[in-house]
Amino acid sequence: MEKGNNEYAIVLEDVHKVFNVYLDKANTMKEKILFLFSRNRKEKREVLKGINLNIKKGESVALIGVNGGGKSTLLKLMTKIIYPNTGKITIDGKLTSLLELGAGFHQDFSGRENIYFNASIFGLTKKEIDERIDSIIEFSELGDYIDNPVRTYSSGMFMRLAFSVAINVNADILLIDEILSVGDQHFQEKCYKKMQELSEEGKTMVFVTHSLETVSKLCDRAIWLHDGLIKMDGKPKEIIAQYIEETK
């Protein structure tokens, strides 16, 4: 398969990821020297054991599976927060990850200033943020609170603001990790609607979620990760049925 072609947004080729789990992490020089002689403290844990995966442009894919299956690790690899030990990941298009909302928000700055800061982490320029700021504020429903320092916000307001920034970044590929539990019922529904809109606009989306309802509502493909391998890959309905059957 060629890389860089236009059909696929994300291509993973035989991706392996091993984490070193330090049972006792050596931090000081003395401990580091001592650790050279005792080998049992370090444990290698292979989280992903060779993942091959192609995600087409415009697809909405859900990653499901029990905890520890490697779902979040896979997302982190796609964002390039961490790198694979072996294998190759090719991304085509601008990618934004919503791994954790509000990362990098500064408590003392106002909501508006934080929009600028947060959006710039996603790689937007001043001009692009200026164009979006109104729709971001409108989507967050914060109204006049937007000029108050973020530390005065309730946790719901905080999440709403963070989500509004992330969703308005205008990326081609969106990676979303377990965050659809934002705000109240009304705001959640708004988020779902926005996701559907983005999907219809042809954005590629990858979700990690335990909410099977989300999967069937938003996705047109589901991938079941189990023990670092892809166990099943296909239509959400079939996968969910099988998944429920097996994890009962």
Binding site: F19, N27, T28, M29, K76, T79, K80, I81, I82, Y83, L95, S97, L99, E100, A103, G104, H106, D108, F109, Y116, F117, A119, S120, I121, F122, G123, L124, T125, K126, I129
Partner: protein, 258 residues
């Protein structure tokens, strides 16, 4: 290999906002605010100006001006490096969660320190003018010396900030090292007053040439040693490239180490 300038250009808004955050955030909850940018170096100069004439038998003429030409550039060097040791760890929560070119972090710290330094230069100017020395045309060399220093500090900062993530001890070590370097550079004394057999230390310290450069344009009011500065410019450029290379190699593991 990826093109570092393209990445940085694309994320220029992030660079700008984090520089702003660094500068504004520092004095956020203090009553005097930005005034500390002036007060801090002034107090520091006061301390040295009182202590060192007592210790050193014969100090330079206009010792306060002499001192502030050395101390203010030194502060840029020292705080820049000191802060880069904590830089990545402090920003751990975003490094672990969001992708962006990591080199933005050290670059924004050093840039904010450089801006702080430029502001503090007003103090040097004030002293030079009030002390009766006046301003010479050689002040035109100021941006060149600043560029050399910026590259040097940035290069070292790339190394320090990335290595500290793996080896936290560097944080503690760096303070002592900076103190040692402080006395190994002609900050509080003139290079000529050093005994002959110790002069090689100054010769190998790039900060010597930089401080001498500032001193030449502000205090001695002569043309700075351009050959020396040219060599240091080359050294700084190499330090910067090697530093970036090391940083780039190590940054892949940041999220896992933090």
């Amino acid at each position: 290999m990826k093109n570092p300038f393209k990445d940085i250009y694309r994320y220029r808004e992030l660079l700008k906002t984090s520089v702003k955050k660094e500068i504004r955030g520092r004095y956020k909850n203090s009553c005097l605010g930005v005034i500390w940018s002036f007060l801090n170096p002034l107090l520091q100069i006061a301390v040295y100006a009182i202590v060192f004439p007592l210790i050193l038998r014969n100090t330079q003429e206009n010792y306060v001006i002499f001192l502030c030409c050395g101390l203010i550039p030194w502060t840029f060097f020292a705080t820049g490096i000191n802060r880069s040791a904590f830089n990545i760890i402090e920003n751990g929560n975003i490094v672990k969660k969001v992708f962006f070119p990591r080199e933005i972090l050290p670059i924004s710290v050093i840039t904010s320190e450089a801006i702080n330094f430029i502001i503090s230069t007003i103090i040097i100017l004030a002293f030079v003018i009030c002390g009766g020395l006046g301003i010479s045309k050689y002040i035109l060399f100021y941006p060149i010396i600043l560029l050399v220093q910026y590259l040097l500090v940035l290069g070292i900062s790339f190394v320090i900030s990335s290595v500290t993530v793996y080896l936290r001890d560097v944080q503690h070590f760096i303070g002592v090292l900076l103190q040692l370097l402080f006395y190994a550079a002609p900050v509080v004394y003139a290079p000529e007053t050093i005994p002959e057999n110790f002069k090689w230390i100054l010769k190998f310290n790039p900060m010597t040439y930089i401080i001498n450069g500032y001193r030449d344009i502000f205090y001695n009011q002569v043309k700075p040693d351009l050959v020396g500065l040219g060599i240091i410019f080359g050294v700084s450029l190499i330090v910067c490239c090697v530093g970036y290379f090391i940083f780039n190699k190590l940054q892949k593991g940041f999220a896992e180490q933090l």
